[in-house]
Subunit: 659 residues, 2 copies
Amino acid sequence: MSKLENKLNLPLKAVSLKQVTIQDDFWSSREKNVIETVVPYQWKALNDEIPGAEPSHTIENFRLAAGEAEGEYYGMVFQDSDLGKWLETVGFVLSGRRDPELESIADNVIDLLGRAQQPDGYLNTYYIVKEPNARWTNLRDNHELYCAGHLMEASVAYYEATGKRKFLNIMSRYADYIATVFGDEPGKKRGYDGHPEVELALVKLYQATGERKYLDLSKFFIDERGQKPHFFDQEANERDESEVPARGKKKREYDYFQAHLPVREQKTAEGHAVRAVYLYSAMADLAVDYNDDSLLQACKQLWNDVVRRKMYVTGGIGSSEYEERFTVPFDLPNNRAYTETCAAIGLMFWAQRMLQIEKDREYADVMELALYNGVLSGISLDGKSYFYVNPLEVWPATANFRHDMSTVKVTRQPWFGCACCPPNIARLIASLGQYIYSKNDSDRELYVHLYIGSKLELEIDGHRVQVTQQANYPWNGQVSLELTLEQSADFAVAVRVPGWCRNAAITVNGQETDISQQEKGYVKIQRTWQNGDRIELVMDMPVEIVHPHPNLRENAGKVALQRGPVVYCLEEEDNGPNLQDIVLPSDAEFDVHFEKGLFGGVSVLTGSGLRSEVQAGDEHKLYTTQAFDKVAAPLKAIPYFAWSNRTPGEMTVWIRNHN
Amino acid sequence: MSKLENKLNLPLKAVSLKQVTIQDDFWSSREKNVIETVVPYQWKALNDEIPGAEPSHTIENFRLAAGEAEGEYYGMVFQDSDLGKWLETVGFVLSGRRDPELESIADNVIDLLGRAQQPDGYLNTYYIVKEPNARWTNLRDNHELYCAGHLMEASVAYYEATGKRKFLNIMSRYADYIATVFGDEPGKKRGYDGHPEVELALVKLYQATGERKYLDLSKFFIDERGQKPHFFDQEANERDESEVPARGKKKREYDYFQAHLPVREQKTAEGHAVRAVYLYSAMADLAVDYNDDSLLQACKQLWNDVVRRKMYVTGGIGSSEYEERFTVPFDLPNNRAYTETCAAIGLMFWAQRMLQIEKDREYADVMELALYNGVLSGISLDGKSYFYVNPLEVWPATANFRHDMSTVKVTRQPWFGCACCPPNIARLIASLGQYIYSKNDSDRELYVHLYIGSKLELEIDGHRVQVTQQANYPWNGQVSLELTLEQSADFAVAVRVPGWCRNAAITVNGQETDISQQEKGYVKIQRTWQNGDRIELVMDMPVEIVHPHPNLRENAGKVALQRGPVVYCLEEEDNGPNLQDIVLPSDAEFDVHFEKGLFGGVSVLTGSGLRSEVQAGDEHKLYTTQAFDKVAAPLKAIPYFAWSNRTPGEMTVWIRNHN
């Protein structure tokens, strides 16, 4: 195994959730929404208590597995993961506040998990209830390790929040058992799951327990992936499946599962986008823990492929509904974008890990871009409806009619119709605190990645430090960081100047700091800090006209509007129909103003464009040799994440422009 | 039934194929190709004599039906129609020349048809061989009348070409039998076929035989269509099918079959595009024959819906691969166009019929547009490969990868993989002579619709007239019509000034004619014609920049290039990759020159556009706030119909433009 080139350049560690309290105009209400609405609602859903909703059966499946109920297994083969995501969210919620009632519900369901666990440690309700003799016979399709992974993540979050070890012990026992089944020793399976997830979860389990064997098991799965002879073929042969795929589905290619090549040989992002970024996240984790430069280089190449060739301007990824997958470079259709909310969330997971290794703002830029756009668009303002698919352009008449656009929804769908994205977005928001700061103990550095009002408590070099961040982000580029120290201390605060920002200034206690000496977008302020020291960051935040690379054929001749990290869109409600007819003059300018009453308060952009003057009789000209005259049209753009919260109608991110 | 408003405005009659001989630089080689290559090839295909091709089994099915072979039926349920289209093409071919060998092959297969015909007149090999007791049990799906219709059309063409009645008699007997099964009398089925075709065929059978009952049967089918209770439900109930659709298919909505409403109440073109235009063609026929204004008004409304809202600039129709159907107004995606070749052919059928009724050049314009673009693009220059689907834009990497573009082919496919479009395009080309001229006996008028070098023999008011048309169309706008008469005669020659032509001049024997007195685009020259009189038409044929209606969202900010009736496109072979990056300046001009060696000789357009200057390092900017510089780029456009006859690559009809 090759080593990281520069061993001294030790990676950062994200500051843990418990140390951060969010107090932010933009995010606190969203966090509250998750805590007060989403978590209780999802608990009811897991218990089949939502009138009119399709039953989830998740809790009932665990009762069946524990022998405490009679009946049949019901639900998807990966139904257990819904409980995992919910319990993980509960863990995140409890890390910031006491909630004895919620904790008691969680403890009870954890007890149930314990009773459902088999004597050997196994814990998967589908196989326990439905196919007790068929464990580990279809890793490719049946999400057995995927479910284990989500429960492991949950157990770590719950342990870190509450200090209670029961759930962690249950999942450690399960992991111990898994390690007896998989491995390169004789008699063990040299396999891995069709849906990566357990790999990153095992890293968390290692971090929580200190048990290196979990890390080794994760590395085993990563190392095996894509090796020949192909494990999915071997297990299919053992199932006597030969050429016929499971459950009548078209046989998938290996790349759907990111199993077409050993991971270190993968240079391009292929297949199912969520699976891909979950896998890459684990690869980044292991690159650090094993000091494995070959894994890091693979991550960097994959990163470049995603962000330079396969990422929407919103941070959305995965442009094909079929197989929810990456396609070919620069194939980013706007009105047929798939851009699953979970994929944008997974991109944040991966970006966050890369950021700890490389301390390069590009990772934070992408993480922030996905957060404020491709992720946040997935949930309605009231937290009660969700997009799986986040198109960048919608014509309702066409989207509602065309069969090849059937996954594009014009309005968000209620929770109970869904299974994966809503709990994923809930756990993301509930854990947002851990994306804001990192620290590097050996170099005594504190990194500030995101501008979210918050209070951070940490120790640097033995000194207790409290950082109070105040911001009115993403609407305004002024951020202050106030330090509270028991005694003065030497350390560095590295402040990110975002990639979107062309002009920034930083002062410390009112004294301007030279920001020209950035390291990959971070201004490192090294000094002996005193109690009450105050860093002020002022970022110019004009409206930016964003041009696509010429290879982005779908956007040729169009521009997007962005301000700070927020990408804007036009909606029919503000601009009338036929948004594609609107063209921006080359000298287009936009005013910014904050509309308090709109979408809970957002900055909107107003300006002027041109649109065609259609006169009586013009309906007789589908094609004409006479160009239509243009007339001025006032324009109003709203944040993309807020679209489809009013009357359903057209929407577009990309706007025509004379360039 | 309402009557036509103006009974005096009697419709034109298309001049029959036998009276026209094409002698034209552009078309004669294509006609020859059909006669010498396509017809023999297709005969081999019908007889399963193409090595490596999937068997057609069509002739063998007729042998089975005749009790002259042993085995199983094989092929689609509508396999008989392939023989129908082939025999119709043979009829068209034989109407222009003697070919004893071909005629003998046809006579033999007609004899076989006669032996396969059942004692009661029934003739459908699928049901005779495979389900002898299930005739007329699934009109919705099983194409029984559709197959009958194609064989009827063939019998008429063969009779008109050869004067031999045998085939006509076979099909008349079949039609007589069908009339005993269907009708509004008690005990008869009040049904109609899922795929319209027999309706227009019965009109032809009536015209050939003079038997009005065939016209009445056609009218019965047209009148019944879409009535409630719904026939397709009734027959499904009789099949005990209830909700389960035939052959495991998703239940189709009535509009797929144009059976959602009685035809006179249909205002918008819905469903399967080929079915629609076949239906509308029969409606236009019957509007004339029954003097039925309600049918005509329905046709006109449907026509407006198609050509003002649902037609591509190439004359292609049907923008959705799913159900090969019309969708919603202005939904005309270029790279996902379906635009089946057969649908453009069917649009010509319909346009030709409307033209006879209304004498309005718009119908001829659309007929010509479809012919030179959406139809002709369906066949390769060598006549050996075919497009079903005629996209207006192709990015091969994307089209070859994306599942939702699987029907978009980057290159034409060989004959034997196909079933419907190749024989349809063959019969269209073989019968092109009947689209050029019409006459109106009562008003002593000869209409000239298309400019195709040809010799026409006809009688007007008892006078034998020969018209020799010379043209170098579509490359050149100069046309001459020379009249040969035995003696002078009074009649009118109505000359079409195409909609694409802004400036034309007409002389008679060198004397300029006032062309301002056009009637719906036709300049009617009324005079006492002498032998040797010569009409010269000169149409300016500059390169036109075609603008889309602002509602055509997919084309916003783009233009198409057209010269005469020919729509142009850019191909990667001439212009390099990334065609969407190319932008035309607002003052773009193009030179025209004829390239003799290219595609058998075509006029190409050359000009200059702009494209982005991508420099080293620019691959790092998927999105940037800096617009890319533009550099001049020479452009070369070729006729759209000729695309994909060289190296496979990108193609686009619509080009960005600053408008």
